[in-house]
Amino acid sequence: MSFITGVGLTSYGKHEGSSSLDLMSKAAELAIADAGLKRSEIDGILCGYSTVSPHIMLATVFAEHFGIQPSYAHAVQVGGATGLAMTMLAHHLVDAGVAKHVLVVGGENRLTGQSRDASIQALAQVGHPDYEVTLGPTIPAYYGLVASRYMHEYGVTQEDLAEFAVLMRAHALTHPGAQFHEPITVADVMASKPVAMPLKLLDCCPVSDGGAAFVISRERTGATGIRVRGCAQAHTHQHVTAAPALSELGAEIAIARAKAASGVAISDVRCAAVYDSFTITLAMLLEDLGLAGRGEAAARVRAGHFGREGAMPLNTHGGLLSYGHCGVGGAMAHLVETHLQMTERAGPRQVRDASVALLHGDGGVLSSHVSMFLERVR
């Protein structure tokens, strides 16, 4: 058994003068305090990577910087799925008795620490060095390819995709830490600059500075326990050229395994936090996970289904699209927000019922997937 006992999150956007280690430290401090623990009680550390400050041993660089000497530490790299993959590993580590309190941390000064071109260029390297990167694609182009095919097969339109950007922005308006606070409309998304068609600027998450952290513990440390009920992964390919058919992508495999591992059904889920690097990512994942019928996710957005007051509140902090995306920390903000919702500390964003949550992360080009169910125990 494992519990998420504390969470920490910085605002996303510009943190001029902060290094990746600074942002990781800030988030870690918040998470440890939130768990009601002392630094010395942390005996395991899992951290992600930083494209701005790459290092072959980032976990121990961080541990030394932060001032702890854990009995278990290393970095994890699964692209956008890293945060949930680390949480899954921490869950198994504490469950197996390897550690009592594992700190999971990610943070990066991706916006102010390097140029946008450098970020775009660094991320494009998830492509095949000989057969893809030489053709000049970008991450939006990899997802643009997937989007064109998905739209073709399921009759999804660019206006449908725009709905997800509008929804995430509406949610970000209610979170002071979000990168964007100006409301947008479907027309604004449609009129935004083309990036990699069919994806336009407002279909894409921004580049951000920020940090996020959690503590995963064997026993709960507060009155309300947020338990990891079950989780699973699926990895079907790395490069978009080698991706399986749309009907055989990893999200469907991961969620099926997570359901089997937890005994939770989609009908038990009360709120969701799903990876949203691009509008197409969110649309596809919602449908792959069974949170909407095939080709029907946009209609559910229009009907208010995924809003704070809806039947399945989704990414109530604004997601990667509008809270921001600082690399590994990006999707960790989804878990922080879910924890705040489940412990009824989300303030004006609080949803009615957050007793059971579904989280899903995606890394690469829909290459690596992690699905996780959390439940509240009193």
Binding site: D117, Y131, L135, G136, G144, L145, S148, A196
Partner: protein, 118 residues
């Protein structure tokens, strides 16, 4: 081990793929073994250069000075007649399902496969 045939990734006007003598699988990314069954030394073959468009994305925002000079350029995934999928460039007005044929064009200091309607 069959010698690696020169292809566009090495500056030649050719698309090369591999075909497994043991299980018959074809693969596009070059390896010394078949990724389907593990048998060594798949045969190297030159593709015909005819294909069907699987997906497209017109890149309008590039990240390097060399690629920016070509904006907009259409990145396509095509299904080759021989049964493998590959990434390439293509005409901007290509649609999914179009039958296409390859030629080769300069892009950012190298030669890349470029597909046009057959």
């Amino acid at each position: 081990m069959t010698d690696k045939l020169a292809d566009w990734t090495r500056g030649a006007e050719a698309i090369v793929y591999q075909s497994c003598g043991a299980c018959g699988a074809v693969q596009y990314f070059h390896r010394r073994f078949c990724a389907t069954c593990g048998a060594p030394d798949p045969m190297e073959k030159r593709a015909s250069g005819t294909a069907t468009v699987y997906a497209t994305s017109l890149v309008c925002r590039a990240a390097t000075p060399e690629t920016r000079a070509h904006v907009p350029y259409n990145i396509v995934l095509v299904d080759a007649a021989e049964g493998f999928r590959m990434m390439a460039h293509g005409d901007s007005d290509l649609a999914i399902g179009d039958k296409v044929t390859v030629s080769y064009r300069p892009f950012a200091g190298r030669l890349v496969p470029y597909f046009e309607k057959t």
